[in-house]
Symmetry: C2
Subunit: 274 residues, 2 copies
């Protein structure tokens, strides 16, 4: 079976392009799938974003992002839930394959990571009925452990699967190679995700050595140490043959280059190293 | 049972003090256990370091460090082994409780993390007979996954225990809260380490939010998000009641302060938050 298509996560194109320019820039290079962030949709308006997407026959492989569940107070958690319900509506309006969940870290001054993790499970449970009713799958994205304190306290595929298993249908995992490539249990975890029918997305980029910024120094595929083909083989063996979505946060490199160069390079690398 | 004593990993005191000043600075505050790095021992000479340590009745909770096993060539791996045998001799001369192993990352341009991990197991196996004959336990220190590429491809306690289990007696784990606090399986992994009689060291510091440097911005106990008492309880429940060793790499904060302030602060925080 041929590998899945390339999708462009629009966080890769934070170079000043408008939403329409991003879509045009992708189409120029034959990229017909995207994953926008909510601020990018908002910048043009949900209706206009949906019009551009549907008018061009674009597939939306995910909407980024819902989540950020832990909060110090019940009011804070309710505010997060309200926002997550809106995110589901936006994902539905765009026809997104899933809503990606970045679950959040430790609230306030808390040192209670187990408690934060429980808030994540509870928060997904609270939004799940609306997601199911709206036909929007929820994809938990385990983030690298270096983000456990401040961005996501779900840090391995197994941990995400444990949560999904508690919650039932309509919840799965987004597997981003950047976050999971180091996991000694990676092959088994991906196989399990396949058996449990929970693989909802496959994100790619690369881990640079050195990494100069913990958030904004991700690499282009092929420029780092991740064996992308090996991980793709694991994911395909687990039964997932969907798109590979390029998501590169790169403040000092790719975000400074012309979008056309970025898209062309993604397409080239996707053909050779992914 | 009372908690174990405080040990000072001398990496915490990279403020310009000589070896003798570090020992004196610790003794002034009642700290009678240390863990030196090999460059710090070399700066004064092994014999003189041993004389200072033994003359003052100091306990050496570990020597940092052996390891760095993966290399692109057999010659490179042999060079690492030669150095590791010398590290064993130094640990024996100092009467260290263990030799800490930081195992190394991906060699050269490699993307083969499984291969690097095999080189680690093979490398420990090669040095183990000399360690056993010398009475020096080898403590594998799993490092945080953000170091998987360039410093250590052993990234969880379970992974270190799997390696130790293959190799037999005289190999265990050094549990550093900085590296493992995020692990969703932490409690079970520590309990397993206790059951398997493999806990050889307990290192403490804290995880700062934000963390401004991936290597050199560790926090003083109490200044970050790690629940140190909770992890100590896990380690004590697993049967380990040995020293807690303070190891803080802090280029822009603690390394710039007078050593006396650093030691005093460690002692105060050890009494209150650890």
């Amino acid at each position: 079976m041929a590998k899945g298509e390339l999708s462009m996560n629009l966080a890769t194109l934070r170079n000043g392009w408008s939403f329409a320019q991003m879509v045009e820039g992708c189409l120029k290079h034959g990229v017909t799938a995207i994953a926008p962030w909510r601020d990018q949709v908002e910048s043009v308006g949900l209706d206009e974003a949906a019009r551009i997407i549907k008018g061009n026959g674009i597939r939306v492989t995910g909407l980024c992002r819902g989540g950020m569940f832990p909060a110090e107070t019940a009011e804070g958690r309710q505010t997060a839930n309200d926002d997550n319900l809106r995110a589901i509506d936006e994902a539905a309006a765009l026809g997104a394959d899933c809503l990606v969940l970045v679950v959040g870290g430790l609230p306030g001054e808390s040192k209670d990571i187990a408690g934060a993790r429980q808030m994540v499970t509870d928060g997904i449970a609270a939004m799940l009925p609306h997601a199911q009713a709206s036909g929007v799958p929820l994809a938990i994205e385990p983030l690298h452990p270096m983000y456990a304190a401040d961005r996501a306290c779900v840090n391995t595929i197994d941990q995400a699967l444990d949560i999904a298993g508690q919650l039932g249908e309509g919840v799965g995992v987004a597997i981003d190679v950047y976050h999971v490539w180091w996991d000694p249990n990676l092959a088994a975890a991906i196989a399990r995700a396949g058996r449990e029918k929970r693989i909802m997305a496959h994100h790619i980029c690369d881990w640079l050595v050195p990494t100069n910024d913990m958030l904004l120094d991700r690499g282009m595929m092929g420029d780092g140490v991740i064996d992308l083909k090996a991980i793709r083989a694991m994911i395909e063996a687990a039964g997932y043959h969907g798109p590979q979505e390029v998501e590169i946060f790169s403040r000092d490199n790719w975000w400074k280059r012309p979008g056309d160069d970025v898209v062309r390079t993604c397409v080239e690398r996707f053909a050779t190293v992914c």
